[in-house]
Symmetry: C2
């Protein structure tokens, strides 16, 4: 999916919500455990309920890998289901990969050619040749970790060099030489508040994938105030607060309500940039 299609979807659906499919088999409703593939059954129900209110889905690979072969099957089925049923959804493999060039190229093939997702999250620590293999497939994206939502983001990402440039700023600056804003996005945690101003000084037009709204405590309003661009420029992810909104047989309806609530808040924010 290219940048203009993404912007069009956001404008049309009045939402920039990404639903994080962090599906933990120990947390899904009991009655689903009788299904042949409980994780996929859960995902399918959540997707059908939330699709009108979001423009993206983000399965976190950890939650599938931990189930081995079965998890990988559930992931493949989930991606194929979204692709076939909701072709306007942007699919992000939250994998945080990054390795030497020939290995990153294997990952890129795996995610873009076999699994057929639109984007993969990538860790920047190993530098240019670990990232560029994710930038060579048409219509797909690398989403580079810049400033993450967790406490540990302070350990290295905020460290300043002799010129006062912080590591996440260096990542933003250097990586812009590797691809333009039609191929690369950045992960910036919703918990980072006013740091979005600093991000926008360096990357004024890039889309940002923003985790951390909901269970992690980030504020949607603050993210929009400091991070929104005239093209929106934000994909805000919520995982647990939506997919586990309900615990019983009505879990999908609860997820629908939670997603719709966020969509309405987002529609209000979008008034600032898009005419209705």
């Amino acid at each position: 999916m290219d940048k203009q299609q993404l912007i069009d979807n956001i404008r049309r659906k009045q939402t920039f919500l990404c639903v994080g499919l962090d599906t933990d088999i120990r947390k899904i409703p009991q009655h689903l455990l009788a299904e042949e593939d409980p994780v996929f059954a859960f995902n399918r129900a959540v997707i059908d309920a939330t699709a009108p209110y979001c423009i993206a889905y983000k399965p976190n690979l950890a939650f599938y890998e931990c189930l081995g072969v079965k998890g990988w099957q559930a992931l493949e089925k989930t991606v194929r289901y979204i692709r076939d049923r909701y072709p306007d959804q942007f699919i992000i493999a939250d994998a945080k990969r990054g390795d030497i060039g020939n290995t990153s190229a294997m990952y890129a093939r795996s995610f873009f050619e076999d699994l057929k997702v639109d984007a993969v999250t990538v860790a920047p620590y190993m530098g240019e040749d670990s990232v560029t293999p994710f930038l060579t497939h048409d219509g797909t994206w690398a989403i580079l970790l810049a400033l993450t939502s967790n406490k540990g983001s302070r350990d290295f990402q905020l460290e300043e060099d002799a010129q006062g440039e912080r590591l996440f700023e260096k990542v933003l600056r250097k990586s812009q030489a590797w691809a333009d804003n039609g191929r690369m996005m950045y992960v910036v945690g919703a918990t980072q508040g006013r740091m979005f101003e600093d991000i926008r000084r360096i990357a004024p037009r890039h889309f940002l994938l923003v985790p951390g709204v909901g269970a992690q405590g980030g504020s949607l309003e603050e993210v929009c105030r400091y991070g929104m661009t005239p093209e929106c420029g934000l994909i805000v992810n919520s995982s647990r607060a939506i997919i586990y909104a309900g615990q019983g047989r009505d879990f999908a309806e609860a997820a629908r309500q939670a997603a719709q609530e966020v969509q309405q808040q987002m529609a209000a924010q979008l008034k600032a940039i898009f005419q209705p």
Copy 2:
């Protein structure tokens, strides 16, 4: 496996070679493609041939993930085969994972409890809470990326802060507060030459996992000169130069010869620290 067992294996077998199972289905001998599981068939033959000459195996997850469900099955069979047949081998999942705490915990469970490897490679960018979940399983290890073997290692890892501390040095220093050298190792590329001296100033007793000898051009002698400790402290990986030493039906014999050659070079290096 604990540190003393690892050192005992190195001393007994006179080798600190790790064979990297970067098994690319497009590069394995043609005749194996008729097998039900060509990747596993290749790995099993390579393992049987090389086990006397190495103390560790390191499957790189990218090469298995790119085959989807089949790749994951081949990986599980490979790890189980090593575990059952060669219980003294140290098994490293080269995964370069690292995510927010609850997600890293999922990865750690996946690798240590389900796949049952001894160690996982972890990327440090997201800081302490992304790494510590890999440090809580008894007898298992996190191997943190410090100074990698690729060209891109210069992009961020060598950047200095205002006090002149480089990022990889900061990773080495800060991470030592998270676990001792019986739980954590570091990745340092063989291509880094005399930088091993700088590494040893900060981490004098940690084991280092050293990729980059062979196809990537690193020198074993240099690595030993600047990186070896009285306990050896090195696990040197070679992937392509061993597993693709031969291309035909005699591939396993070629791998055996290549591994044995490296083992003999290593035995010569070990004379400096272990009495025969």
